[in-house]
């Protein structure tokens, strides 16, 4: 389970002053469910997910991931999550197998347990064919499959996925969405961010619309549509973020 408690994050810059990237967000994601963060670029999705992954700290408020506090127990939080985004890359001069062995060791997997998990993810993501090839030599799709293998290698109860399909073609995106659905079936808690409406519609059990760092709508797909009095998620989203069509004179 993932729960945030009035979490905030501000960045300070000498030119622009203080920027509130996340401003008092409260969300709750449950095992066996996909929680979707739907927002435009710069809405605060990545900052929120990075705080959940403990790579940055909240300015105030906190969150718990699988029962561990992100401020007080960051290493335990990271040991219990699988994190994947379009910016989490692989080491080009290592083979896919070496990448998995490396992260397996960092997650504390040893001996037969490491071998068992590696065999599982290699078979599950069908990477046998290129597992001994350098990551630099892999195609985008192959790399993404290795990244997914890396993210679930330690069998984490929580998956945090930050726009995992951004920049990928429709076939690779399909593979990733199928993977996310499978992970839900296995009972993992999944927090998934996207700005693609069709992905949110297909995958998410609960959706939170985030804009300027704040949640401006939350619920199931049906509840969101009902609240916005529309039958299209895109229209509901635009309404919630206060989009107004510019009319030229």
């Amino acid at each position: 389970m993932v729960r945030t408690d009035n979490i905030r994050k501000s960045f300070w810059d000498s030119k622009t002053g203080e920027t509130k990237a996340v401003d008092g967000v409260n969300i709750e994601a449950h095992p066996g469910k996909i929680f979707g963060l739907l927002g435009a670029n710069g809405a605060g999705k990545t900052t929120l997910l990075r705080m959940l992954a403990t790579v940055i700290s909240p300015t105030s408020g906190t969150a718990s991931v699988d029962g561990f506090d992100i401020v007080k127990e960051p290493e335990m939080v990271r040991a219990h999550i699988g994190f994947l985004s379009n910016s989490t890359a692989l080491y080009g001069r290592l083979t896919a197998r070496e990448v998995l062995e490396y992260f397996g060791a960092l997650y504390g997997l040893r001996g037969s347990r490491l071998k068992e998990r590696m065999d599982y993810v290699i078979h599950k993501l069908q990477i046998e064919e290129f597992v001994d090839r350098l990551c630099d030599k892999l195609s985008t799709g192959q790399k993404q499959r290795v990244s997914i293998s890396r993210a679930i290698l330690h069998d984490p109860p929580v998956l945090i996925l930050d726009e995992p399909t951004a920049g990928l073609d429709v076939v690779i995106s399909q593979t990733i969405m199928e993977f996310i659905e499978e992970q839900r079936e296995q009972g993992r808690t999944i927090v998934f961010s996207t700005h693609v409406m069709s992905e949110a519609e297909r995958l998410c059990d609960n959706i939170a619309v985030i804009h300027d760092g704040s949640i401006c709508g939350e619920g199931t797909l049906e509840q969101i549509l009902q609240a916005a009095n529309t039958d299209r998620l895109e229209s509901a989203f635009l309404k919630m973020v206060g989009y107004r069509r510019e009319v030229s004179a």
Binding site: V55, I81, T88, A89, L90, Y91, R93, Y102, A105, Y107
Partner: protein, 395 residues
């Protein structure tokens, strides 16, 4: 296994697979040392070998001095009609110097009042050598003339040299004493201790930030401190290995005893076990210091481009003392207290003395202590930079 060690081993594996690192940290130092030693050998051999010294004579009647000069080693003579003609020959490069005996040379020689003028170019080493050869012959002739005069008056020829100077070289015939490249080796050792790491460090943090692999690492359960330490010690290992490659190359080239390099090691290549221990003790904290600087810059930079810009500036600060160490023998400052406490310079000077087998206890301790303090400080700075959010967000 400790997570820092897991990271260290992975970094070293990745670095060694990078052709740029292999070339910059290992191939280039070997190549450079071979080239340097070869060139030094060629220069030394040329300086020591007898070479032709073409001279132009003006007003050279057959006299005692001109005959003596003609007989000097390597001297060949062309007669010119006037000083102007001879100077033109000098300008054209046909001769190295011009000797003008004056028209009344023979007459004045008999009266002990002869003078001769030599025209040479002090900016040309060979012209200066030709001038020295002539001066030496003049001195010899003066001496023999004076001896003859003394004998004629029944006086002892010892009056010419009432004081006898005996020069004894007290240089220890140990280590690389007497080797012309002993000033160069410490410079190259220090140079590659820095540049070995320079070749990879931008990739190590700033590059990982750009490619997104740093985020992949930071979302695993490792602490920032473990990441910093793993990267730090892998970088220090490469700096150390690159630096050692230089020394190994010197040893290998020295032992090969090639004709061109033989003259560079007049006492043979003798590096004692103590010298090696001293050298390693100086080098280890120095590479820790360098690794700390390099890693801090890379951790601070937004991207590899910014990292390389900062590193280029930093490299000047690091390498200036190293370059100065080559010439410190000419300044007389090598034993000054400020040298012993100047980072990098003190290490280079101490390495030179270790190779010569003359390193004292205090300079050794000072060099090690300064590098240890700065190394620990830079390690702390590196760990602190990794603990900041900017390690990911400053892009």
């Amino acid at each position: 296994m400790n997570r820092s060690i897991i990271i260290l081993l992975k970094e070293i594996r990745e670095m060694l697979r990078d052709r740029r690192v292999r070339n910059a940290a290992f191939v280039t130092p070997v190549f450079m040392i071979v080239i340097f030693i070869y060139l030094f050998g060629v220069i030394e051999q040329n300086v020591k070998s007898k070479r032709a010294l073409p001279l132009a004579f003006v007003n050279a009647q057959s006299n005692q001095l001109s005959e003596a000069i003609r007989k000097a080693d390597g001297v060949t003579v062309e007669d010119a009609k006037s000083v102007d003609e001879a100077l033109q020959m000098r300008k054209d490069g046909a001769v190295l110097a011009v000797v003008d005996f004056k028209s009344d040379f023979d007459k004045t020689l008999a009266s002990g009042d002869a003078s001769v003028t030599i025209y040479y170019d002090s900016s040309e080493p060979l012209s200066s050598i030709a001038m020295s050869a002539v001066r030496e012959t003049v001195n010899e002739l003066n001496k023999s003339e004076a001896q003859a005069a003394l004998k004629q008056h029944g006086l002892s020829t010892k009056l010419l040299e009432p004081i006898t100077l005996t020069a004894k070289d007290i240089q220890k015939k140990t280590g690389l004493a007497g080797s012309a490249i002993v000033g160069l080796i410490p410079y190259l050792i220090v140079l590659w201790a820095f540049y070995g790491g320079f070749s990879i460090v931008s990739d190590l943090v700033a590059g990982e930030k750009e490619r997104g692999t740093l985020e992949t690492l930071l979302v695993s359960p490792v602490t920032r401190r473990q990441v910093a330490l793993g990267k730090f010690f892998s970088l220090a290992a490469i700096c150390f290995a690159s630096s050692m490659t230089t020394l190994v190359a010197v040893v290998v080239v020295g032992f090969l005893n090639l004709p061109m390099t033989r003259a560079l090691f007049p006492n043979g290549l003798q590096i004692s076990a103590l010298s090696i221990i001293e050298l390693l003790a100086i080098l280890v904290p120095l590479v820790v210091f360098f690794a700390g600087i390099l890693l801090s810059v890379s951790a601070y930079a937004k991207n590899t481009r910014e990292s390389q810009t900062y590193l280029t500036l930093v490299s000047f600060l690091i390498l200036l003392p190293a370059i100065f160490s080559q010439f410190i023998g000419f300044t007389g400052a090598q034993h000054a207290t400020w040298v012993r406490f100047t980072p990098v310079l003190n290490s280079a000077v101490a390495i030179r003395e270790a190779l010569l087998g003359t390193l004292g206890f205090t300079p050794f301790v000072a060099a090690v202590a300064v590098s240890v303090v700065l190394g620990l400080l830079m390690l702390k700075v590196s760990v602190w930079l990794f603990s900041r959010e900017e390690i990911l967000t400053r892009v």
